[in-house]
Symmetry: C4
């Protein structure tokens, strides 16, 4: 069991840095995952920017968003977003909350976010809005109270993404990788929808297309392809930084491991194909 | 013969990473080239993101998109796009399929993409649309069946670029470098057309201008200039990454070789002019 | 006393480079802070781009914007902006003047800048305009005369940000970090407001929301989170550069120090969590 | 005399790479300067992308755009743009021709480019249009014939910038640095004008303001500030790249030299202030 938890911590730390590297999370925003073996707990980083998070920064919380082990670490004030959704939705295994630039205009205007290209079908159907003002009046907009979290979870309902008016977006996934995929491609869909609205009238996927596209994108095959790509890009950036400081790149290990496993599953050695610099470096060290 | 094939693999792997580095390909999209000596085959990378592709990742396929040699590698599900176009168009030696941000708004709105500046004439005349829904109804939008590939090839007709509604773009070229040029400069033309539409009414090249501009851009002289530039930029990025991981930069060899050859052709040594860091490094190692 | 001043110089130099790295300052623009122990003086860099500034570049000026110690260094011609605001507003401890891309369209059109998301409430309420032409007629637009500085300070009044028509923005803060936060998040709010206006009608925070959001953002807790993030990012960029030149990264010391202190305050060692490469390098050297 | 020429070559090569690094030049476009001692000649790089150009790539041409010394190097096909302007305008000492993204929408729409902020006054007053179609009918749009160059020079007239319909921009300066400044800040002004038009009605500088702003920006003081900044940024990027390849960064020497000289002029040692990593590296090597 401890192994699965250690793997989950590493994967979640990597997801944090991937989402930072791909422009979804910045100083603010967070991603969590349900505990790999205990569905009554979830994992999330300490308070701080996603770009900084390493496995040791990942904490374990109950679904009431209390630390399982007492900690001196600071916690996010919006933990209830995560806890409330895990409570309401047993099918959800990962939650992301962000304020990414391409999506915010929809939170500000109330314009509906719709799938405009096949990969954007990761929106997962209708994207409802939640306005904290409706139920709670004037607040600091951040979702910090259990009843606010519960209200937001109700607004999400059976969907996969909800827009918070004048604030940001909250997304869910059946797995961490699905949630990362949805977070990145709904940003991209939003960017394309806005650009398309700037030059003409948009057409959207039919319901049938959206459903089929979403299924096509969220297979293990596609999710492992994008994960290989995102961790490769992260490893490159972290290798550059490490060069200056004379340390080992942080993502190297993760990147080295992930595609290797993926390759093993598809029956061919990863070493011969597209070895990213960081992976090579690691192998070199082993010899 | 094996030499020409090895060169083609290397050139195609470089084209993959150039298109990633210039923002045309990301986690998705692919570029292929016809086999250098056997017109009944084509080369394309294994399944995965273009940014990762090395010569060893390049596979050989029949025009029915079957691997010539059995392989454990995963293949793209949209191979038929390439095979169908090579079958329909003997003059085509390279095909690229992508979902780049500047072009997608045209796929979403159906607004016509037109040449708005001299380099944008690489569009190659009219850019037709293809809507999978017309012939096949609701699908996952990806082009995976032979009849879908054939339909797309018919829509392309004698043109050089076709837009797939709610999906992306497919381009062809008489050579790999022409296809890379067209892929990059049609993105740039699309970006400029959108920005121009944001401030006023656009004017377009006349048919005569478009024809002459296209001929001017697609000479070996211009194509070798841009290739020198793109591989130089790629070599710089790959050198940065390699610095962190202590490995040799992947593109260095290619970049070192390409401009050197180009210089030889124009009768002066490349070594004295604009030696990119990566090239210097290679020479240093030889001494 | 000398210690507080040395810390202030270092913090201000870091703030200069953070604002350059986050895209607020470029070749032009400047940030100052009130002297940590003598409210009749302020600190600001020598003439030059923020990206270059180190602690030794920080000069000490009277509130009349005269150097306390004679210096051969060149001074900004717009120092009066800073001096005039420190004179008029004892509650202000830091002033930033910039021409950042997202904010300038508001200076050009006179469209009102309003809070469209919770973090944008850092605008601090109403953002007045100042047009140098109203009082001074045709000028080179730069604010170089004492009476121009005084006029601008009057336009700022009790607010925290003022827009200079056809020129740029000037912001104030109760502390250096608050001023950096306001500078970055008003740019972001402006970017989002413009993008939202491109797709629909914007909604804004209510006055009550704006007040509560602003209070929530400008706590020491949030300010230390963003400072940790921005200095981490700066340290990474400076580490990359230093790699090429074989020197120690400039921001490493600062970055190493800041989160460590923050962690100490919250009762856990920084070393185990999210150690940025640059920090690791520094520790390695100590051993 | 040979010294002045060597300095000019180095400065022009640096200007090439600065304009590439700041996003004005890419695979295409070029900048030239009049010969420092012989007004009947000018200097420009060999055919190729600006980002690659080193002092050895700089060639010497007559005002008829013929190489002074026979060369095997390829030449730009649009040299006449430069030659024709130097012939028509003895006050011009540098010419830049580019197709930068922010400016092209004005070439495509014919919307007038006007100064919308103080630094944008570098436009230098009215910006005329030139349409090759008016006089020459359908052409490949590139300006390659002497009579086309002469026609463009007439369109420029006494101004400092001319927009080529469906093509790009050509700018002139009284010095190389003035031309670089104008090239960068007219791009920035164009970007801001477009963004401002997206949210409201733009206001422009009055003629008096524009004249005073332009004079304020084009002093040696301001030009040396921006040059220090741009070469510092270039040195950082080139240091990063060199790190990977194990070579000395190309721009280091230039960057080291330029601010040192500027500092000397203002009476204080450059070494103590804002030493860019690359400079430090150079000093380190000397010891």
């Amino acid at each position: 069991m401890p192994d699965l938890l250690a793997e989950a911590r590493q994967e979640l730390a990597t997801a944090n840095r991937v989402l930072a590297n791909e422009g979804v999370l910045d100083a603010f925003g967070h991603i969590s995952m349900r505990h790999p073996t205990n569905p009554d707990r979830y994992l999330i980083s300490r308070y701080g920017a996603a770009e900084l998070m390493m496995p040791a920064d990942i904490l374990e919380l109950t679904l009431d968003s209390k630390p399982v082990v007492p900690t001196g670490a600071r916690l996010f004030s919006e933990l209830v977003i995560h806890g409330a959704i895990y409570q309401a939705r047993p099918d959800v295994h990962s939650v992301c909350h962000h304020h990414a630039t391409p999506v915010l205009p929809y939170c500000i205007t109330g314009v509906e976010l719709v799938p405009v290209m096949h990969l954007g079908a990761a929106l997962g159907g209708k994207v409802p809005f939640w306005d904290s003002r409706d139920e709670f009046g004037d607040t600091p907009l951040v979702v910090t109270k259990p009843q606010e979290g519960a209200s937001l979870a109700r607004a999400l309902g059976p969907h996969w993404m909800v827009l918070l008016r004048r604030h940001g977006a909250t997304l869910a996934g059946r797995s961490l990788r699905e949630c990362v995929f949805r977070s990145i491609y709904t940003c991209r869909n939003a960017e394309l929808q806005s650009r398309a609205m700037g030059i003409g009238s948009i057409s959207t996927l039919s319901d049938g297309e959206a459903e089929m596209c979403s299924q096509h994108s969220l297979t293990p095959r596609t999710l492992s392809r994008v994960w290989e790509y995102w961790t490769f890009r992260l490893a490159k950036v972290e290798a550059m930084t490490a060069a200056g400081a004379g340390t080992k790149p942080a993502a190297a290990k993760v990147a080295a491991k992930t595609p290797a496993k993926a390759s093993a599953r598809r029956g061919k050695p990863a070493k011969r194909t597209a070895a990213p610099p960081a992976r090579k470096a690691k192998r070199a060290k082993k010899r």
